[in-house]
């Protein structure tokens, strides 16, 4: 595989190119440096809603045209809004990629935000939120974020608070779009079957003339240090209890992040970079919680983020046991780990696992392009290129230090989902 090349156009657009000639495909991503972290109260959910509006067409590519155009060319496209970014992509047969290049250049500037489309999308997004609310874990997750972040924009869900979804206006959406969608606030990435010189020339032709905007005034409020454990309880109809324990984690650009990734692998099992994980039945918490029949499953999640976010452990409590029992058993394991009992063997095993999972994660050009854009947004594309090497470099001492520094009760939030009785379903036929 060839190396990544990085270019900055005169208008500030960062372009990353990586040739991969295994399949006649190209993936094209444009990532904007704005996400739900940059939303103040009153417009929570605006980044995600703007993302939806960018599928409503422009003068050049009217609504309904693009859905069909991309499919017709045998491609895939989508977008995602995260706490730190909003990103759009198309993956197409290599000889059809020009459509994607033109589309993203066009909608960087020319999305219309027609008032009727805004209103029709309002109910779609409310429906999206209501669908999420059907899951007990959504309610718990929302309360956990709100408790863990009192000041920082990480305190609300990406989809936004329901009240804001009802009251946000077309102008709120359009102003957000105009403030953040500009070449100097974007990272564009192509990975796949192309010639880099030709690709760069075409990108320059299509994007080079888009004017830079004044640097956006980003809404960012640093979270003050946490001064004690926070606890939340969510009580809803249901049959199953859940426990979430979230520790404050370092930013992805902090070398400690990799130490914590190793800890997660040892505690909860390895997770890849989106290529699908593997089983975790030899992990410490599986043995302590699931093998002892206190829990039905356990998962750990550590996401790379711009600002310090969360290392979250989620447990499904097994029928017949209490959340309190599970929490006590989990704490015992955390205490052991903080006391420094990780072995060289466990560390090496986590590294071998990381190599395999990285290989799975990077099979598709779409995932490679995503990770290059994502990594460039919170650190540098080299974060992704050096991912395995960074994990390899973690020492036993690093892991012990990170455990002591981050797995502290004072800086964690503990959440209980308590299922309320009386949720038995009724069925009838007509």
């Amino acid at each position: 595989m060839s190396k990544v090349t990085r270019h900055v156009l005169d208008n500030g657009l960062v372009v990353l190119l990586k040739e991969v000639h295994n399949a006649p495909l190209i993936s094209w991503w444009v990532l904007y440096r704005v996400g739900s972290r940059n939303e103040h109260t009153g417009i929570t959910g605006v980044s995600h809603w703007v993302e939806h509006m960018l599928f409503k067409g422009t003068e050049q590519f009217p609504a309904g045209y693009l859905d069909k155009a991309i499919d017709r060319e045998g491609g895939a496209w989508n977008a995602q809004t995260f706490i730190d970014y909003t990103a759009y992509y198309e993956t197409l047969p290599a000889d059809r990629i020009d459509l994607a290049l033109r589309l993203e250049a066009d909608r960087m500037m020319n999305a219309q935000f027609d008032i009727e489309e805004v209103e029709s999308e309002r109910t779609v997004i409310i429906s999206e939120r209501q669908g999420a609310e059907n899951s007990p874990l959504f309610w718990l997750g929302e309360e956990m974020q709100a408790a863990a972040f009192r000041v920082h924009g990480y305190h609300h869900e990406i989809i936004g608070d329901m009240v804001d979804l009802h009251t946000m206006t077309r102008d709120d959406l359009y102003n957000h779009y105009r403030a953040h969608y500009a070449p100097n606030n974007a990272i564009a990435v192509a990975v796949g079957d192309f010639n880099s010189d030709e690709m760069l020339a075409r990108i320059t032709e299509l994007y080079g003339a888009i004017p830079a905007a004044p640097p956006p005034k980003l809404f960012v409020r640093p979270e003050p240090g946490q001064i004690g454990e926070r606890r939340v309880r969510v009580e809803r109809p249901g049959k199953t209890a859940f426990l979430d324990v979230s520790y404050k984690a370092p930013a992805a650009s902090d070398p400690d992040w990799f130490s914590l990734a190793i800890i997660n692998s040892i505690l909860c099992g390895p997770s890849g970079l989106g290529g699908g994980g593997i089983d975790n039945k030899t992990s410490r918490l599986y043995k302590a919680l699931v093998e002892t029949e206190l829990a039905a499953s356990v998962d750990g999640s550590l996401t790379p983020t711009i600002d310090p976010y969360l290392y979250a452990i989620s447990v499904t409590v097994r029928d017949g046991h209490t959340t309190e029992e599970v929490e006590a058993a989990l704490d015992e394991q955390i205490d052991r780990l903080v006391a420094g009992d990780i072995t060289e063997q466990e560390l090496n095993r986590a590294k071998k696992q990381a190599r395999a999972l990285f290989a799975y994660s990077t099979e598709r050009v779409t995932m490679q392009a995503f990770w290059l854009a994502f990594a460039e947004s919170f650190d540098s594309y080299n974060w992704f290129e050096n991912y395995v090497a960074s994990l390899e470099a973690v020492t036993l001492e690093d892991v012990r230090a990170a455990a002591a520094k981050y797995l502290r009760r004072q800086t964690r939030t503990v959440g209980y989902f308590v299922p309320l009785d009386g949720a038995d379903a009724e069925e009838d036929e007509e």
């Binding site: 495909l25 609504a63 499919d71 999308e121 049959k239 395999a356 598709r364 069925e427």
Partner: protein, 422 residues
């Protein structure tokens, strides 16, 4: 897709072992990994309603211990090298999937063969697994999408039909399944006859075949029964609706439809294209355009064809505000009526043909995508030249073919509807 183009008879290695296992291998040195996928002739088709969930529980129990390895040994051997194996059962077949770094293929085959052939169903582990399954079933009993789908299928297929039942069993049946039932199910149904195993990745085909032979060639099971014939599904003569009430939910789920084509039906491909026009192409097809884009009722509203070994459903799925359930059902009905009453436009046909043909490189980009395609090619007797001739077969379809398929399976005035919500 590897650099040498679409998998074809020239690049797929296919070997039938003496005991009946069919092995397909495809070399792809573009990635460092290897995947195994395949299936054997065991599924919920072979269980009784009283033991509903037996096939699924048996499949999940395989990795709890074998004659050669206990629970920890199985999982340590895989997880130590970042490898993974999963086995799960559906109605007709029990499928398996594994992945590893290419250098670790022998370990992957060794462990897979061991769990398929020599499970011991250790009692303590089975009880633990049973508890996990029951917790999962309790959780899903509160999931509107799952409940709407279950209600739909139970109302669509009569109770003498295996499609009436869910494959994972229920909180009533799972406690009734004894370890001896699992042992007997495994002895009778797991075997080499009709088994398919596909390996794709950075490995040499000849070496893979040798490895597969080493671990699987001596497997015999003369007791494997032929699949039973499926009972008739009575024709639906008027629409009927099964409702599930789940307190506290904020959104309702709708699943509606009728029995669709099997993968063996001669009009399967025509039905798939008609379905794409209905609820897939672009932003979830015509249903997406009406229910989501025009009315703003739903975040998701689409249609799908199961198209497996038998007449699985051709269905429409939507999640809407509880106040909009009837309106959404009405608008979906309108689109079904249009699809059956009118031929699709020339543009619709051309778009969808281009989509199905153009999408192949994306589908075949990863080892996993190639393996799942090759598994289908073998399971449904599609022929090793299937991908090479695919384009011609898609472009041979006419508007009449699509309409005929839609009319054969869909009737907007006699639908089975499952809903679940507050």
């Amino acid at each position: 897709m590897a650099a040498n183009g679409l998998p074809s008879p020239d690049t797929i290695t296919r070997v039938v072992l003496d005991n009946g296992i069919t092995a397909l291998v495809y070399e792809n040195f573009a990635a460092q990994s290897v995947v195994i996928s395949g299936s054997l002739r065991a599924g919920s088709l072979y269980e009784t309603p009283e033991r509903n969930g037996l096939a699924a529980l048996t499949a999940s129990a395989l990795m709890r211990g074998t004659e050669n390895r206990d629970f920890n040994a199985i999982h340590a051997e895989l997880e130590d090298i970042g490898a993974d194996i999963g086995v799960s059962s559906n109605i007709h077949r029990t499928g398996f999937f594994g992945k590893a770094l290419a250098e670790d293929l022998p370990t992957l085959v060794d462990v897979l063969a061991d769990v398929l052939r020599r499970p011991t169903f250790p009692t303590a582990h089975i009880e633990r697994l049973r508890g996990e399954v029951l917790t999962g079933l309790q959780y899903r009993s509160q999931d509107t999408r799952y409940r709407a789908n279950r209600a739909f299928r139970a109302a669509l297929y009569p109770d003498n039909h295996p499609y009436h039942y869910g494959t994972s069993g229920t909180v009533e049946t799972v406690p009734q399944i004894a370890v001896s039932d699992m042992i007997a199910f495994h002895q009778q149904h797991y075997g080499p006859q009709d088994m398919i195993i596909v390996v794709v990745g950075a490995v040499k085909a000849a070496a893979v075949i040798d490895t597969l032979k080493q671990y699987l060639a001596d497997w015999q099971n003369p007791s494997q029964p032929q699949p039973p014939a499926l009972p008739e599904v009575p024709r639906v003569t008027e629409s009927r609706r099964a409702k599930v009430a789940l307190p506290g939910k904020t959104q309702s789920d709708i699943v509606l439809g009728l029995p669709g084509p099997s993968r063996f039906s001669e009009d399967y491909q025509a039905a798939v294209l008609a379905n794409s026009v209905l609820g897939q192409f672009g932003m979830m097809g015509r249903i997406g355009a009406s229910v989501r884009e025009e009315l703003g009722l739903a975040y998701y509203a689409y249609s799908q064809i199961d198209g497996g070994m038998g007449p699985g459903p051709w269905s429409v799925v939507a999640g809407v505000n509880p106040a909009n359930v009837d309106l959404a059902i009405e608008r979906i009905g309108d689109e079904l009526r249009r699809l059956t009453n009118e031929p699709v436009s020339d543009q619709d046909l051309a778009d969808n043909q281009a989509y199905y043909v153009g999408n192949l490189p994306l589908q075949l980009e990863s080892n996993e995508g190639i393996a799942s395609t090759l598994t289908s090619i073998e399971l449904y007797n599609l022929g090793l030249d299937y991908l090479v001739t695919y384009r011609d077969r898609i472009y041979r379809l006419t508007k009449d073919d699509l309409q005929r398929a839609a009319r054969r399976y869909l009737n907007p005035d006699a639908l089975v509807i499952g809903t679940a919500g507050p």
